[in-house]
Symmetry: C2
Subunit: 147 residues, 2 copies
DNA sequence: GCTAAGCTTGAAGTGCTGTTTAAGGTCAAG
DNA sequence: CTTGACCTTAAACAGCACTTCAAGCTTAGC
Protein backbone atom coordinates (compact mmCIF):
# COMPACT_ATOMS: atom_id res chain seq x y z
CA UNK A 1 0.00 0.00 0.00
CA UNK A 2 2.49 2.50 1.22
CA UNK A 3 4.93 1.96 -1.53
CA UNK A 4 4.60 5.62 -2.23
CA UNK A 5 5.16 7.23 1.10
CA UNK A 6 7.94 9.78 0.70
CA UNK A 7 10.65 8.91 3.16
CA UNK A 8 10.72 12.56 4.15
CA UNK A 9 14.36 13.59 3.94
CA UNK A 10 15.79 10.88 1.81
CA UNK A 11 15.76 8.93 -1.38
CA UNK A 12 12.80 8.40 -3.65
CA UNK A 13 11.96 5.14 -5.23
CA UNK A 14 10.96 5.09 -8.83
CA UNK A 15 7.26 4.94 -8.08
CA UNK A 16 7.56 7.93 -5.81
CA UNK A 17 9.41 9.90 -8.40
CA UNK A 18 6.79 8.90 -10.92
CA UNK A 19 4.04 10.09 -8.63
CA UNK A 20 5.86 13.32 -7.92
CA UNK A 21 6.41 14.17 -11.55
CA UNK A 22 3.47 12.65 -13.34
CA UNK A 23 5.75 10.55 -15.50
CA UNK A 24 5.31 6.80 -15.67
CA UNK A 25 7.89 4.52 -14.16
CA UNK A 26 8.52 2.98 -17.53
CA UNK A 27 9.21 6.40 -18.99
CA UNK A 28 11.62 7.14 -16.18
CA UNK A 29 13.55 3.96 -16.85
CA UNK A 30 13.52 4.85 -20.49
CA UNK A 31 15.00 8.26 -19.73
CA UNK A 32 17.68 6.65 -17.67
CA UNK A 33 18.52 4.20 -20.39
CA UNK A 34 18.96 7.06 -22.80
CA UNK A 35 21.15 9.11 -20.55
CA UNK A 36 18.61 11.79 -19.79
CA UNK A 37 18.25 10.99 -16.18
CA UNK A 38 21.55 9.63 -14.99
CA UNK A 39 21.85 6.26 -13.34
CA UNK A 40 20.19 6.27 -10.00
CA UNK A 41 21.97 4.87 -6.98
CA UNK A 42 20.71 1.49 -5.87
CA UNK A 43 19.74 0.21 -2.47
CA UNK A 44 20.69 -3.23 -1.22
CA UNK A 45 17.54 -4.57 -2.82
CA UNK A 46 18.52 -3.26 -6.21
CA UNK A 47 15.85 -0.58 -6.20
CA UNK A 48 16.66 2.82 -7.65
CA UNK A 49 17.15 5.56 -5.12
CA UNK A 50 16.58 9.01 -6.44
CA UNK A 51 17.78 12.13 -4.72
CA UNK A 52 15.00 14.67 -4.25
CA UNK A 53 16.42 16.95 -6.92
CA UNK A 54 15.61 14.30 -9.50
CA UNK A 55 12.14 15.76 -9.43
CA UNK A 56 13.48 18.99 -10.80
CA UNK A 57 15.50 17.19 -13.42
CA UNK A 58 12.45 15.37 -14.67
CA UNK A 59 10.54 18.63 -14.61
CA UNK A 60 13.17 20.14 -16.85
CA UNK A 61 12.91 17.26 -19.25
CA UNK A 62 9.17 17.69 -19.50
CA UNK A 63 9.51 21.43 -19.86
CA UNK A 64 11.93 20.92 -22.70
CA UNK A 65 9.54 18.52 -24.37
CA UNK A 66 6.84 21.12 -24.19
CA UNK A 67 9.18 23.56 -25.81
CA UNK A 68 9.34 21.10 -28.66
CA UNK A 69 12.73 19.55 -28.00
CA UNK A 70 13.15 15.92 -28.87
CA UNK A 71 14.61 13.76 -26.14
CA UNK A 72 17.85 13.62 -28.05
CA UNK A 73 18.00 17.38 -28.08
CA UNK A 74 17.22 17.47 -24.40
CA UNK A 75 20.14 15.21 -23.75
CA UNK A 76 22.28 17.55 -25.79
CA UNK A 77 21.24 20.45 -23.63
CA UNK A 78 21.04 19.05 -20.14
CA UNK A 79 24.11 16.95 -20.62
CA UNK A 80 24.42 13.26 -20.58
CA UNK A 81 23.89 12.66 -16.90
CA UNK A 82 24.45 14.52 -13.63
CA UNK A 83 27.22 16.45 -15.27
CA UNK A 84 27.88 20.12 -14.58
CA UNK A 85 25.27 21.58 -16.96
CA UNK A 86 27.37 23.41 -19.45
CA UNK A 87 25.94 26.89 -19.76
CA UNK A 88 27.29 27.43 -23.20
CA UNK A 89 25.81 24.17 -24.36
CA UNK A 90 22.44 25.13 -22.98
CA UNK A 91 22.43 28.49 -24.66
CA UNK A 92 23.44 26.97 -27.93
CA UNK A 93 20.76 24.34 -27.67
CA UNK A 94 18.05 26.82 -26.85
CA UNK A 95 19.04 29.04 -29.72
CA UNK A 96 19.11 26.14 -32.09
CA UNK A 97 15.59 25.24 -31.11
CA UNK A 98 14.57 28.83 -31.55
CA UNK A 99 15.89 28.75 -35.08
CA UNK A 100 14.05 25.51 -35.69
CA UNK A 101 10.83 27.07 -34.50
CA UNK A 102 11.29 30.05 -36.73
CA UNK A 103 11.87 27.77 -39.66
CA UNK A 104 8.69 25.92 -38.97
CA UNK A 105 6.84 29.15 -38.52
CA UNK A 106 7.82 30.33 -41.93
CA UNK A 107 6.84 27.02 -43.45
CA UNK A 108 3.49 27.24 -41.79
CA UNK A 109 3.09 30.83 -42.86
CA UNK A 110 3.73 29.86 -46.45
CA UNK A 111 1.23 27.04 -46.21
CA UNK A 112 -1.28 29.39 -44.69
CA UNK A 113 -0.80 31.88 -47.47
CA UNK A 114 -1.02 29.16 -50.05
CA UNK A 115 -4.23 27.79 -48.65
CA UNK A 116 -5.85 31.16 -48.31
CA UNK A 117 -4.87 31.96 -51.83
CA UNK A 118 -6.31 28.70 -52.98
CA UNK A 119 -9.59 29.29 -51.25
CA UNK A 120 -9.76 32.63 -53.01
CA UNK A 121 -9.16 31.13 -56.41
CA UNK A 122 -11.74 28.46 -55.80
CA UNK A 123 -14.37 31.03 -55.05
CA UNK A 124 -13.85 32.61 -58.44
CA UNK A 125 -13.58 29.74 -60.85
CA UNK A 126 -13.97 26.18 -59.80
CA UNK A 127 -10.76 24.81 -61.18
CA UNK A 128 -8.30 23.10 -58.94
CA UNK A 129 -5.88 22.89 -61.81
CA UNK A 130 -5.38 26.63 -61.59
CA UNK A 131 -4.08 26.15 -58.10
CA UNK A 132 -1.15 24.05 -59.17
CA UNK A 133 1.12 27.03 -59.74
CA UNK A 134 0.86 27.66 -56.03
CA UNK A 135 3.44 24.96 -55.64
CA UNK A 136 6.07 27.46 -56.67
CA UNK A 137 4.93 29.82 -54.00
CA UNK A 138 5.65 27.15 -51.44
CA UNK A 139 9.07 26.37 -52.80
CA UNK A 140 10.00 29.86 -53.67
CA UNK A 141 11.26 30.88 -50.33
CA UNK A 142 9.56 29.01 -47.54
CA UNK A 143 10.93 31.92 -45.60
CA UNK A 144 9.45 35.32 -46.14
CA UNK A 145 6.03 35.61 -47.59
CA UNK A 146 4.40 37.60 -50.27
CA UNK A 147 0.78 37.23 -51.16
CA UNK B 1 15.33 2.23 -74.01
CA UNK B 2 12.29 4.10 -75.11
CA UNK B 3 10.06 2.83 -72.44
CA UNK B 4 9.39 6.42 -71.56
CA UNK B 5 8.49 7.98 -74.84
CA UNK B 6 5.12 9.67 -74.42
CA UNK B 7 2.77 8.12 -76.91
CA UNK B 8 1.64 11.61 -77.85
CA UNK B 9 -2.09 11.54 -77.67
CA UNK B 10 -2.69 8.50 -75.57
CA UNK B 11 -2.18 6.60 -72.39
CA UNK B 12 0.82 6.85 -70.13
CA UNK B 13 2.50 3.91 -68.58
CA UNK B 14 3.43 4.12 -64.96
CA UNK B 15 7.04 4.93 -65.71
CA UNK B 16 6.00 7.74 -67.97
CA UNK B 17 3.70 9.18 -65.38
CA UNK B 18 6.49 8.90 -62.88
CA UNK B 19 8.85 10.74 -65.17
CA UNK B 20 6.25 13.40 -65.87
CA UNK B 21 5.52 14.07 -62.23
CA UNK B 22 8.77 13.36 -60.48
CA UNK B 23 7.11 10.73 -58.32
CA UNK B 24 8.50 7.23 -58.19
CA UNK B 25 6.58 4.35 -59.68
CA UNK B 26 6.38 2.69 -56.32
CA UNK B 27 4.86 5.82 -54.84
CA UNK B 28 2.31 5.91 -57.63
CA UNK B 29 1.29 2.34 -56.93
CA UNK B 30 1.17 3.23 -53.29
CA UNK B 31 -1.18 6.12 -54.04
CA UNK B 32 -3.38 3.87 -56.06
CA UNK B 33 -3.52 1.28 -53.38
CA UNK B 34 -4.63 3.94 -50.93
CA UNK B 35 -7.32 5.33 -53.15
CA UNK B 36 -5.59 8.59 -53.94
CA UNK B 37 -5.07 7.94 -57.56
CA UNK B 38 -7.94 5.78 -58.74
CA UNK B 39 -7.39 2.46 -60.40
CA UNK B 40 -5.81 2.89 -63.76
CA UNK B 41 -7.17 1.09 -66.80
CA UNK B 42 -5.13 -1.86 -67.89
CA UNK B 43 -3.85 -2.84 -71.30
CA UNK B 44 -3.90 -6.38 -72.57
CA UNK B 45 -0.51 -6.90 -71.00
CA UNK B 46 -1.76 -5.93 -67.59
CA UNK B 47 0.14 -2.65 -67.56
CA UNK B 48 -1.50 0.42 -66.13
CA UNK B 49 -2.69 2.98 -68.66
CA UNK B 50 -2.99 6.46 -67.32
CA UNK B 51 -4.97 9.17 -69.04
CA UNK B 52 -2.95 12.35 -69.51
CA UNK B 53 -4.90 14.16 -66.82
CA UNK B 54 -3.43 11.82 -64.25
CA UNK B 55 -0.46 14.14 -64.34
CA UNK B 56 -2.58 16.90 -62.94
CA UNK B 57 -4.05 14.64 -60.33
CA UNK B 58 -0.63 13.66 -59.10
CA UNK B 59 0.36 17.31 -59.16
CA UNK B 60 -2.56 18.09 -56.90
CA UNK B 61 -1.55 15.37 -54.52
CA UNK B 62 1.94 16.75 -54.30
CA UNK B 63 0.65 20.27 -53.90
CA UNK B 64 -1.54 19.15 -51.06
CA UNK B 65 1.39 17.46 -49.40
CA UNK B 66 3.33 20.67 -49.58
CA UNK B 67 0.44 22.40 -47.94
CA UNK B 68 0.92 20.01 -45.10
CA UNK B 69 -1.91 17.60 -45.75
CA UNK B 70 -1.37 14.00 -44.89
CA UNK B 71 -2.21 11.52 -47.60
CA UNK B 72 -5.27 10.53 -45.69
CA UNK B 73 -6.43 14.10 -45.64
CA UNK B 74 -5.73 14.40 -49.32
CA UNK B 75 -7.96 11.45 -49.94
CA UNK B 76 -10.63 13.14 -47.91
CA UNK B 77 -10.39 16.22 -50.07
CA UNK B 78 -9.85 14.93 -53.56
CA UNK B 79 -12.27 12.10 -53.09
CA UNK B 80 -11.62 8.44 -53.13
CA UNK B 81 -11.00 8.03 -56.83
CA UNK B 82 -12.00 9.69 -60.06
CA UNK B 83 -15.18 10.82 -58.44
CA UNK B 84 -16.74 14.21 -59.14
CA UNK B 85 -14.61 16.27 -56.75
CA UNK B 86 -17.12 17.50 -54.24
CA UNK B 87 -16.65 21.23 -53.94
CA UNK B 88 -18.07 21.39 -50.51
CA UNK B 89 -15.80 18.62 -49.34
CA UNK B 90 -12.80 20.44 -50.73
CA UNK B 91 -13.66 23.68 -49.04
CA UNK B 92 -14.24 21.94 -45.78
CA UNK B 93 -10.96 20.10 -46.06
CA UNK B 94 -8.99 23.21 -46.86
CA UNK B 95 -10.53 25.08 -44.01
CA UNK B 96 -9.83 22.25 -41.63
CA UNK B 97 -6.20 22.32 -42.62
CA UNK B 98 -6.16 26.05 -42.18
CA UNK B 99 -7.40 25.61 -38.65
CA UNK B 100 -4.79 22.98 -38.02
CA UNK B 101 -2.10 25.33 -39.22
CA UNK B 102 -3.32 28.08 -36.98
CA UNK B 103 -3.31 25.71 -34.07
CA UNK B 104 0.27 24.79 -34.74
CA UNK B 105 1.18 28.39 -35.18
CA UNK B 106 -0.07 29.25 -31.77
CA UNK B 107 1.75 26.31 -30.26
CA UNK B 108 4.94 27.44 -31.93
CA UNK B 109 4.38 31.00 -30.86
CA UNK B 110 4.01 29.87 -27.28
CA UNK B 111 7.18 27.82 -27.52
CA UNK B 112 8.98 30.77 -29.02
CA UNK B 113 7.87 33.01 -26.24
CA UNK B 114 8.81 30.45 -23.67
CA UNK B 115 12.26 29.97 -25.07
CA UNK B 116 12.94 33.64 -25.40
CA UNK B 117 11.79 34.15 -21.88
CA UNK B 118 14.02 31.37 -20.74
CA UNK B 119 17.03 32.83 -22.45
CA UNK B 120 16.32 36.08 -20.69
CA UNK B 121 16.14 34.45 -17.29
CA UNK B 122 19.32 32.57 -17.90
CA UNK B 123 21.19 35.74 -18.63
CA UNK B 124 20.26 37.10 -15.26
CA UNK B 125 20.77 34.26 -12.84
CA UNK B 126 22.07 30.93 -13.91
CA UNK B 127 19.33 28.76 -12.55
CA UNK B 128 17.40 26.47 -14.79
CA UNK B 129 15.13 25.63 -11.92
CA UNK B 130 13.65 29.09 -12.14
CA UNK B 131 12.55 28.30 -15.64
CA UNK B 132 10.25 25.52 -14.57
CA UNK B 133 7.27 27.82 -14.00
CA UNK B 134 7.37 28.50 -17.71
CA UNK B 135 5.56 25.24 -18.14
CA UNK B 136 2.38 26.99 -17.15
CA UNK B 137 2.91 29.57 -19.82
CA UNK B 138 2.93 26.79 -22.39
CA UNK B 139 -0.23 25.26 -21.08
CA UNK B 140 -1.92 28.59 -20.97
CA UNK B 141 -3.57 28.51 -24.33
CA UNK B 142 -2.02 26.18 -26.84
CA UNK B 143 -2.93 22.55 -26.40
CA UNK B 144 0.06 20.43 -25.52
CA UNK B 145 0.94 19.35 -28.98
CA UNK B 146 4.61 19.56 -29.73
CA UNK B 147 5.51 18.54 -33.21
C1' DG C 1 15.91 -14.90 -79.79
C1' DC C 2 18.67 -12.76 -76.43
C1' DT C 3 19.01 -9.37 -73.04
C1' DA C 4 17.94 -5.44 -70.54
C1' DA C 5 14.56 -2.47 -69.08
C1' DG C 6 9.91 -2.03 -67.62
C1' DC C 7 5.84 -3.99 -65.78
C1' DT C 8 2.91 -7.16 -62.33
C1' DT C 9 1.82 -8.63 -57.31
C1' DG C 10 1.75 -8.67 -52.09
C1' DA C 11 4.30 -8.61 -48.09
C1' DA C 12 7.64 -6.91 -45.46
C1' DG C 13 11.15 -3.58 -44.34
C1' DT C 14 12.73 1.39 -43.36
C1' DG C 15 13.32 5.51 -40.42
C1' DC C 16 11.94 8.31 -36.70
C1' DT C 17 10.14 9.15 -31.76
C1' DG C 18 8.54 8.05 -27.24
C1' DT C 19 6.71 4.96 -24.79
C1' DT C 20 4.34 0.73 -23.24
C1' DT C 21 4.04 -4.17 -22.63
C1' DA C 22 5.45 -8.74 -21.90
C1' DA C 23 7.86 -12.29 -19.62
C1' DG C 24 10.10 -13.97 -15.76
C1' DG C 25 11.87 -13.00 -11.14
C1' DT C 26 12.84 -10.38 -6.47
C1' DC C 27 11.37 -7.93 -2.37
C1' DA C 28 8.44 -6.09 1.40
C1' DA C 29 4.16 -5.76 3.90
C1' DG C 30 -0.40 -7.42 5.68
C1' DC D 1 0.24 -16.45 1.09
C1' DT D 2 -0.94 -13.01 -1.59
C1' DT D 3 -0.60 -8.69 -3.24
C1' DG D 4 1.80 -5.01 -5.15
C1' DA D 5 5.99 -2.39 -6.15
C1' DC D 6 10.13 -3.25 -8.00
C1' DC D 7 13.95 -5.53 -11.09
C1' DT D 8 15.70 -6.92 -16.08
C1' DT D 9 15.81 -7.14 -21.28
C1' DA D 10 13.58 -7.32 -25.42
C1' DA D 11 10.02 -6.54 -28.27
C1' DA D 12 5.74 -4.36 -29.67
C1' DC D 13 3.06 -0.28 -30.78
C1' DA D 14 1.62 3.77 -33.33
C1' DG D 15 1.72 6.94 -37.24
C1' DC D 16 3.46 8.31 -41.80
C1' DA D 17 5.03 7.72 -46.50
C1' DC D 18 7.27 5.13 -48.84
C1' DT D 19 10.85 1.58 -50.57
C1' DT D 20 12.44 -2.91 -51.27
C1' DC D 21 12.14 -7.69 -52.26
C1' DA D 22 11.06 -11.81 -54.72
C1' DA D 23 9.38 -14.14 -58.55
C1' DG D 24 7.72 -13.87 -62.89
C1' DC D 25 5.58 -11.55 -66.61
C1' DT D 26 6.16 -8.13 -71.39
C1' DT D 27 8.36 -5.25 -74.51
C1' DA D 28 11.87 -3.15 -77.33
C1' DG D 29 16.27 -2.96 -79.56
C1' DC D 30 19.80 -5.48 -82.01
Amino acid sequence: MNANSPASGAALRIGELAAATGVSTSALRFYEKHGLLGKAARGGNGYRQYAPDAVERVGLIRLAQRLGFSLEQVRGILGRAGEPLDHQQILTGLQARLAEIEQMQSTLAAQHTGLTCMLGKLHEHWDLGRCLPLAKLLDGHAAGDSA
